[in-house]
């Protein structure tokens, strides 16, 4: 065993244990520290032999190997102690006895110098062990911390997404001071509102101009009617001849002028159309982009603003911009007007009844309505005078028909009850005008049928009461029923009433009876 204590070479595992002999053996003094293997070895071995020591070495090998490298690092210091220990164990007088006593016995045999050396050796060993312990723990902690959040060298560091993750905290705004974004929103709302306002102004002006244009058109028709009557009555065959009549000449010139005015109004109308459409376009374009402002880039809000500001200035309806001074179109020649009137004059009635109607109209226009119910023909002038009258009820039951223009003018009358029981045929055109009348009660008891094409206009009438007591055919029943459902009060004959009720119950129109000519 002595040859195992060789300080000149590196320790083997076994040697390591042997080199630690004095200390380890000293540790083995207490039986409590002996493991089962060494106890067993001691019990079965009568004497402490090298073999027994070897067994102890094997039994404690794990502990030795764990502490080995540190323990044997100073082989020079360990060697004497180890030699001593081995010598004491190799004693020839050793008798069979338990291993512990043997080991206990060996300890006192150590010389004092060895003890001192052992104590001196232990301190550096402990210091080294402590340093190693600290290093091991530190390295473990360091490795744990490092691999818990490893860095990936090849991956670019993740940038913080802009605008989404990083939401800069807004400093608390001073009270009653709007944010810049709020200012911006308010400014845009005001700008869009300005567009709406200007556009509404333009559209209102357009309506106004259209009414004026319509007025001129009606005035032209009225003058033409009057001029045709003059031509018919005077028997004029040519324009030069007609121009010799001052009244006719002035009528022709008035027609010409009104036509010019009418046509010239197209210019401001066109300008208004352009303006209102451009404003609408700019408003919509800005609105579409504003709604995307938060999620889109390169939206040029400034451009929108500039365009809108420019348009707001450009389309202010100033008198200069609405002026027709430079837009009076080439006037219709009197020759053209003459040809038209000459053709119209051929259809002008000259009977006594016509003359009586003209007289009644003259009375109406002068404010006397005593014979208005005797009117059989409604001229444009007569319609205008009636429409401008303050009467609340008009009974025109001898009127069999009227021109579209006359009907349109008559329906401007703001009265309550309009009786047209002399009308026997309701064309779609006449229906569209009558059912635009703003009054409440209309009597059309002369009608035997209301065609579907005419009845469909009834849906737009705001009146409350309609008399159709002359109906014999159930055409238009569907529209009559719908109008009644919408709140109108309908007066019809019983058989038509039954058909209306049936339609309302079943939603089906009644089948026409065979050979009856009716439904």
């Amino acid at each position: 065993m002595a040859e195992t204590v060789d300080t000149t070479r590196g320790p083997s595992p076994t040697e390591g244990f042997q080199a630690l002999g004095p200390i380890d053996l000293g540790d083995l003094e207490s039986p409590a520290h002996m493991d089962t293997a060494s106890e067993g070895a001691a019990e079965t071995t009568p004497a402490i032999t090298p073999a027994a020591v070897a067994e102890v070495q094997v039994a404690t090998h794990t502990a030795a190997s764990l502490a080995g490298p540190a323990g044997v690092s100073n082989g020079e210091e360990a060697t004497p102690a180890g030699s001593e220990a081995v010598q004491s164990l190799d004693g020839p007088t050793a008798e069979p006895r338990p291993a512990a006593p043997v080991l206990k016995e060996a300890a006192p045999g150590l010389p004092k110098t060895v003890k001192a050396t052992s104590a001196q050796t232990r301190r550096p060993l402990m210091a080294v062990g402590g340093v190693i312990l600290v290093l091991a723990i530190a390295s473990g902690v360091w490795l744990y911390a490092r691999y818990r959040y490893p860095t990936l060298p090849d991956v670019q560091p993740r940038s913080v997404p802009e605008g989404v993750v990083v939401v800069p905290e807004k400093p608390a705004s001073p009270s009653n001071q709007p944010e810049p974004a709020d200012d911006d929103r308010v400014a845009w709302e005001a700008k869009l509102r300005d567009i709406d306002t200007l556009r509404q102004t333009l559209l209102a002006k357009k309506e106004e101009i259209l009414r004026l244009q319509q007025n001129y058109q009606y005035g032209i028709l009225e003058l033409e009617e009057e001029a045709a009557r003059l031509i018919r009555r005077g028997g004029f065959d040519s324009l030069p001849q007609a121009l010799k009549n001052r009244q006719l000449e002035l009528a022709l010139q008035s027609i010409q002028r009104r036509q010019s005015y009418h046509d010239a109004l197209a210019k401001p109308l066109h300008w208004i159309d352009l303006g209102s459409e451009e404003l609408l376009y700019l408003r919509r374009r800005a609105f579409f982009d504003l709604q995307l402002k938060e999620i889109a880039e390169d939206i040029d809000i400034t451009l929108h603003s500039a365009d809108i500001d420019s348009a707001l200035t450009k389309y202010q309806p100033t008198p200069e911009r609405l002026s027709i001074n430079n837009a009076v179109p080439v006037q219709l020649s009197l020759e053209v007007i003459w040809k038209r009137l000459a053709e119209q004059a051929r259809h002008v009635g000259t009977s006594a009844d016509d003359q009586r109607d003209l007289d009644i109209i003259a009375e109406v226009c002068s404010g006397s309505f005593g014979r208005v119910s005797e009117l059989s023909i409604l001229t444009l002038k007569g319609a205008r005078c009636l429409a401008e009258s303050g009467a609340m009820q008009l009974f025109l039951n001898r009127l069999g028909s009227m021109s579209s223009a006359a009907a349109r003018k008559l329906c401007e009358w703001p009265g309550q009850w309009l009786c047209l029981n002399g009308v026997t045929r309701l064309s779609p055109e006449l229906a569209s005008q009558l059912f635009a009348w703003p009054g409440e009660w209309m009597s059309l008891n002369g009608l035997s049928e209301v065609p579907d094409e005419a009845a469909k206009y009834l849906a737009g009438w705001k009146g409350r009461q309609l008399e159709l007591m002359g109906l014999r055919k159930s055409t238009g029943v569907k529209f009559l029923a719908q109008w009644e459902v919408s709140g109108g009060r309908l007066f019809v004959p019983d058989d038509i009433r039954r058909e209306i009720e049936m339609f309302r119950r079943t939603g089906q129109l009644p089948a026409p009876a065979p050979n009856s000519g009716r439904w």
Partner: protein
């Protein structure tokens, strides 16, 4: 002697802890790294899904507005009875509406492109998530798995997706817009 034994025992235990800590840390770090990336993926997917929802909402609104403009074009076309595009463009309302529809459809096209990208990104993230879970199972079983390549690629993709998701949803440039003729044809066909 008791003191000596105690000191030595402490040394041995300390060494054991150090050694074990080192090993466990190396193994545990991968698992924790994968878990952390799973959280990152979830957050990124949530962010992208929110952006997708926003894009779809805006797209729907724009499409509705475009449809309304088309309907108005159709009404105006019937009112003034125009058939050809040159005739139609003489009508201010039709011309302006065609331009607005062109603009809106341009926005919609770009939003569609964006939505497609987001959907693809979500699918890619799901792919990564699946692979990470597989790798975690492998790590649990074999105590080691090579995740460097996955982490590298995933990190790059996550950066890309997050960056894209934080960008504006569309660019309001006038390039790449559909021709007015095409839009007019669609209006005529009621599309």
């Amino acid at each position: 002697m008791d003191r000596n034994r105690m000191l030595r025992t402490v040394c041995v235990i300390g060494f054991l802890i150090g050694t074990l800590g080192t090993g466990l840390a190396a193994e545990d770090s991968k698992s924790q790294d994968l878990n952390r990336v799973l959280v990152d993926i979830k957050a990124a997917a949530k962010m992208i899904n929110q952006r997708t929802a926003l894009a779809e909402e805006v797209r729907q609104k724009l499409a509705q507005q475009a449809d309304e403009l088309k309907a108005e074009i159709h009404l105006e076309r019937c009112r003034v009875t125009v058939a050809s595009l040159p005739q139609a463009r003489q009508i201010s309302r039709i011309d302006y509406n065609l331009r607005l529809v062109q603009r809106l459809l341009g926005y919609i096209d770009r939003l569609d492109h964006r939505i497609d990208f987001f959907r693809s990104a979500v699918h890619t993230l799901e792919f990564y998530r699946r692979q990470i879970r597989d790798d975690m199972l492998m790590l649990k079983t074999l105590n080691d798995v090579d995740t460097a390549s996955l982490m590298r690629q995933l990190g790059a993709d996550l950066d890309h997706f997050k960056n894209q998701a934080s960008q504006p949803l569309l660019t309001a440039s006038s390039s790449g817009l559909r021709p007015i003729e095409t839009i007019w044809g669609d209006v005529l066909q009621g599309k």
